[in-house]
């Protein structure tokens, strides 16, 4: 059976507080001002950190450095990846800005690797729209200039300080569930529910994951379970989840399908939410063309005896 696959996208925006030093640096970028921080030994760190990377001392003495600098190492990237600063081939560079003692990582817009060398002179190309982020530096560009620059003390105060940073990220995956879940999902699309029996403890797991979590050994023997089952426990959901097309309140339950030794999760419908109870007998309902049950509804049978399902709660 060919492995199932589906696209899976993970997206997250992290909002972070910047703190005094990073706030000053990133706000400075918005104002086309480059700030560093001076350590107690007199070194100027750009980009600045709140604590000395060697001594861990708190650092607050901001200074302004130049928008020109020297490349300390480089790497030519012929095929830019999604989200990287330039869409055309570019160089990654570490740049020691004039006045700084440490290097900043960014990208350099150059025609090709033959135009690059360690020690070359560059300057900042500012982004048209600046938001208080490292990407306010659009890139560096080659620029002949001397590296004479006196750093000047800077208060790090601007009119409208950027104090938060939102870092959106998106990662694209191809999800493959593995052998046992593939078998389960394939059967499910066929309106059959299959579990797997552990060869050691004989328990039937549904949905199967290919291993008995108790014995730690592989399971392979398929067992058809259900379709009817018993509600072992449940809860009433009163808050509507985003993008969920189900009216609240609704009931979410653990359902022990007949023949299974583990309860699975499902929504109960076809009965008022406040009449759902432990022991209620239910069966899956597939909507047209669905690969999985939409919900479970009462079968109309008498309730199961507590003793019949108490081990599965």
């Amino acid at each position: 059976m060919p492995a199932l696959k589906a696209p899976l996208t993970v997206e997250f925006p992290f909002t972070r507080s910047l703190g005094p030093v990073q706030s000053a640096f990133l706000t400075g970028l918005r104002h086309r001002t480059l700030l560093g921080v001076r350590t107690t030994s007199g070194e100027v760190l750009v980009p600045p950190t709140e604590y000395d990377p060697v001594t861990a001392e708190e650092l607050r003495d901001l200074v302004e450095v130049a928008p020109t600098g020297t490349v300390t190492t480089w790497a030519w990237n012929p095929s830019p990846r999604p989200f990287q600063p330039l869409a055309t081939p570019f160089a990654w560079v570490l740049v020691k800005l004039d006045g700084a003692d440490t290097a900043l990582l960014h990208v350099l817009d150059a025609p090709g690797p033959d135009h690059l060398r360690t020690g070359m002179r560059v300057r900042v190309r500012w982004a048209e729209e600046r938001t208080g982020a490292i990407t306010d530096i659009a890139c560096f560009e080659p620029h002949e200039s001397t590296n004479k620059h006196e750093v000047s003390v800077h208060r790090g105060e601007f009119e409208d300080m950027t104090t938060l940073l939102t870092a959106p990220a998106r990662l694209d995956y191809t999800y493959t569930p593995g052998r046992a879940p593939t078998d389960y999902l394939t059967a499910l699309a066929d309106h059959r529910i299959v579990g797997e029996r552990c060869p050691s403890c004989q328990k039937v797991y549904v949905p199967p994951r290919g291993a008995c979590p108790t014995c730690g050994i592989a399971t392979a023997e398929q067992v058809e379970v259900g379709p009817s089952g018993t509600v072992t426990t449940f809860c009433i959901v009163n808050i509507k989840a985003k993008n969920l097309d189900i009216d609240v309140p609704y009931v979410y339950a653990h359902i022990a399908l007949d023949g299974a030794d583990l309860a699975l999760h499902g929504r109960i419908a076809g009965i008022p939410y406040d009449e759902v109870r432990m022991g209620l007998r239910v069966e899956p309902v597939w909507t047209d063309g669905a690969r999985y049950p939409d919900h479970y509804r009462p079968t109309g049978e008498p309730d199961a005896d507590y003793d019949a399902y108490k081990e599965l709660i």
């Binding site: 492995a3 999604p82 989200f83 990654w92 490292i134 990662l171 291993a211 108790t214 014995c215 730690g216």
Partner: protein, 356 residues
């Protein structure tokens, strides 16, 4: 004065090691399905059952497969009933082994099962690894792992520590040695590829791998019962450097050197080193930092250039070094694991076999 390594309070050894065949993709297997065979193999080798194991520790990362709490699913392959003592690190399994070693040193366990796995095929590893970077100054630029390694390689070339030909020879030696490793993914003659990110060619970079590894640790006499030639852990230490690449000297690895000193690497006559150097240029840095001479066999397994299941590749180095001691091919071996961009974090373990 160099720091004096502290002698461990108990003798602890790697007594069993197993690994999967590492492959570019394993679509037909879930993480637990990929992992379970190696768990069974180390248990079978020692005759232990899960219930005999004092402590279990694993290393993996949710970001590889894009699944939350994936390590809890992997635990299904261990068998956690009756209840076991278990822990997980969102790091390479070498750090899980460190935690297990400490647990045994405290006397709270006499045996430990350590495993690690990485299923990289679902995502794009180069992009995924950007998410471990500083979120303020680095991550918004999406500098991928190959690009960062290439910056380090260029710094080494500028410093005169290596050149592209020397890097190519590291690649070809590693993949030639991998011929003898049934589990390796890339082996034999590999044509020198195009620049992936200059100055690194595809051959200078590790393959993207799915794979898993497991080891069993045991203390004292228990180790002797379980293994005819235990690989005694003389010391382990791990150190980290500043996160910002621009404040580091990328041509050196002081954290590796310090970890090696503290682990006692300079107190023994090493014959083997398994270095976790996913990029050819990183082997140059590590050899220099550790002062390894030509008399030491480096990465006879082929190393991470032959198979690089992220989160397991460091544990594999310890396992490979231990297995050479088990087989009598080594008497004293150094195993190294790294994490983070451009060798930011480094772990060194020193393993020794009983005198023959």
């Amino acid at each position: 004065m160099p720091p004096t390594p502290a002698r461990p309070v108990r003798d602890v050894a790697v007594v069993a090691f197993a690994q999967t065949d590492h492959r570019r993709r394993t679509d037909e297997l879930s993480e637990v399905e990929m992992l379970m065979p190696v768990l069974h193999q180390v248990l079978d080798e020692t005759g232990l059952r899960t219930s005999d194991i004092g402590f279990t520790c694993s290393g993996s990362s949710d970001y590889l497969a894009g699944r939350a709490f994936s390590f809890t699913m992997a635990l299904d392959g261990v068998g956690a009933w009756p209840p076991i003592s278990e822990s997980h690190v969102e790091m390479d399994g070498a750090w899980a082994l460190y935690e297990a070693w400490v647990k045994i040193l405290t006397g709270e366990a006499d045996t430990a099962l350590v495993y690690a796995y990485g299923k990289s095929s679902p995502g794009s590893v180069r992009d995924v690894l950007t998410r471990q970077l500083d979120p303020y100054y680095l991550a918004p630029l999406w500098p991928d792992s190959v690009s960062l390694a290439a910056l380090q390689a260029q710094a080494l070339i500028d410093a005169g520590d290596t050149d592209e030909r020397a890097l190519a020879s590291v690649a070809s030696r590693s993949r030639a040695d991998a011929r003898a490793n049934a589990h390796a993914q890339v082996k034999g003659e590999v044509p020198s590829g195009d620049y992936l990110v200059h100055p690194l060619r595809t051959t200078d970079c590790p393959p993207v791998s799915d794979g898993a590894a497991a080891v069993i640790l045991a203390a004292g006499d228990r180790a002797r019962e379980l293994c005819s030639r235990p690989a005694w852990i003389r010391g382990i230490d791990h150190r980290i450097e500043a996160h910002s690449l621009g404040v580091r000297d990328l041509t050196d690895s002081p954290s590796t050197r310090l970890a090696a000193e503290r682990a006692g690497a300079y107190e023994v006559r090493l014959d083997t080193a398994e270095l976790h150097a996913p990029f050819t240029s990183q082997e140059v840095v590590l050899r220099k930092a550790l002062g390894l001479g030509d008399d030491i066999t480096v990465n006879p397994s082929g190393g991470a250039l032959a198979a690089n299941p992220i989160m397991a590749a460091g544990l594999l180095r310890i396992g490979e070094a231990a297995a050479r001691i088990h087989r009598g091919e080594s008497d004293a071996a150094l195993a190294h694991a790294t994490s983070g961009p451009c060798l930011q974090q480094n772990l060194v373990a020193v393993l020794e076999g009983d005198p023959r």
